[in-house]
């Protein structure tokens, strides 16, 4: 293509359906309408299903040095319970004595049950073309099993409460060469970057809309992306160093955003620009 088509133009958190009024007249409004139409047309066939199918196989396959499946992995609702599990994550797990999101928990199960080393389990957290990520596929399937389930993240344990409060602080943390925080783009309603609507993650409606539509198949990349990826790539564009997969900051921020989305039916894997 004349311009590089597969350029991984990173994105913004979620494409939102509620559109605000824009400063200029007809042209901008019709642009907004046409983009809504474009998004609508994408809904008809979501390649995320290809990841979901592979993820389900991976969950059930005997893998790793111990040659066991993940079917005894406890995602928070008891060993092997997948249905609705994602809608209650992140949560505190006493066996690991920390708050974990889905991806972190998967790594934990791959290590403790299947016998993978942490290095092997996290070797490819984000896929690129034929170098595919098992974690993305597993996440696609597991999250699809929460479709329609209302977000219900609890802050009961002290560490869950602490994660939420740390996540909130991290959300407002300004740094890097450009002084960006998550809040720079995500704390006002009705704003957009280029033509992408920016959810206001400090309000219930915005947090719900954004959080319940990840993971998502990103058409700009041709990849299924998880929430860990979403945070990782937001920080890249914030000009921060690289967010470590499953790090305390990543889980704390996820706790903050997931809790703010409580009450909304989970609706992913989605498809987005």
């Amino acid at each position: 293509m004349k311009v590089q088509l597969h350029k991984a133009v990173g994105g913004v958190l979620a494409a939102c359906a509620a559109l605000a009024a824009f400063p200029v007249g007809v042209t901008a409004q019709s642009a907004v309408d046409e983009i809504a139409k474009y998004r609508q047309q994408l809904q008809d066939g979501n390649p995320a299903e290809l990841w979901e199918a592979r993820g389900e196989d991976l969950w059930k396959q005997k893998r790793g040095p111990k040659s066991v499946s993940l079917e005894r992995c406890d995602l928070g609702k008891g060993a092997g319970v997948v249905k609705g599990a994602y809608a209650e994550l992140p949560k505190y797990f006493s066996d690991a004595d920390r708050v974990m999101d889905l991806e972190t928990r998967l790594v934990h199960c791959m290590v403790t049950q299947q016998g993978f080393t942490t290095a092997d389990a996290t070797k490819r957290t984000f896929g690129a073309g034929s170098n595919r990520s098992d974690i993305e596929a597993l996440t696609a399937w597991i999250t699809s099993e929460s479709k329609g389930v209302r977000m219900n993240v609890a802050l009961n344990h002290a560490k869950e409460k602490e994660a939420y409060r740390l996540g909130e602080k991290i959300f407002y943390f300004r740094g890097g060469s450009h002084d960006f925080a998550c809040a720079t783009c995500h704390s006002e309603t009705g704003k957009r970057i280029r033509l992408q609507d920016l959810p206001n993650l400090t309000e219930k409606a915005g947090a719900q809309l954004a959080y319940t539509t990840w993971p998502a198949y990103r058409v700009s990349q041709g990849e299924l992306r998880t929430f860990q990826w979403r945070l990782n790539d937001c920080f890249r564009q914030q000009r921060f160093p690289e967010l470590q997969f499953g790090s305390e900051a990543s889980v704390a921020l996820t706790s903050f955003l997931a809790f703010n989305a409580n009450g909304a039916p989970f609706n992913a894997p989605a498809i987005k620009r």
Binding site: P47, E49, G129
Partner: protein
């Protein structure tokens, strides 16, 4: 081996609607990788859909069809429970066939 396709076929009023998602890179042959080398073209060239052994669609594609292709079409004469079979073949000779029952 390539991943299975996702095929949905549903009949309404004598018309069968078929939606297919395929797992394929659809490399254009114009993209450069991280080290600046051209990634060779790799794309589905043909797709054929059959119903009861009869071809109901025959598509020829170039590399400008999007990655993980989506295809939708409609044909007459299928009954619920009949099989729709789809085969794709790419420019390296790889192929994949899957089928789905009409719902």
């Amino acid at each position: 081996m390539a991943d299975p396709m996702r095929i949905r076929a549903s009949e309404k009023g004598g018309i069968v609607n078929v939606k297919v998602l395929m797992s394929h890179e659809m490399e254009t042959g114009q993209r450069k990788d991280g080290s600046g080398k051209i990634v060779p073209a790799h794309f589905i060239q043909s797709v054929t859909a059959t119903h009861n052994g009869k071809t109901v669609l025959l598509a020829h594609w170039g590399p400008a069809v999007s990655k993980n292709p989506f295809l939708e079409f409609n044909f007459k004469g299928g009954q619920k429970g009949d099989k729709v079979q789809v085969t794709w073949t790419d420019n390296k000779g790889d192929k994949r066939t899957d089928e789905a029952a009409i719902s």
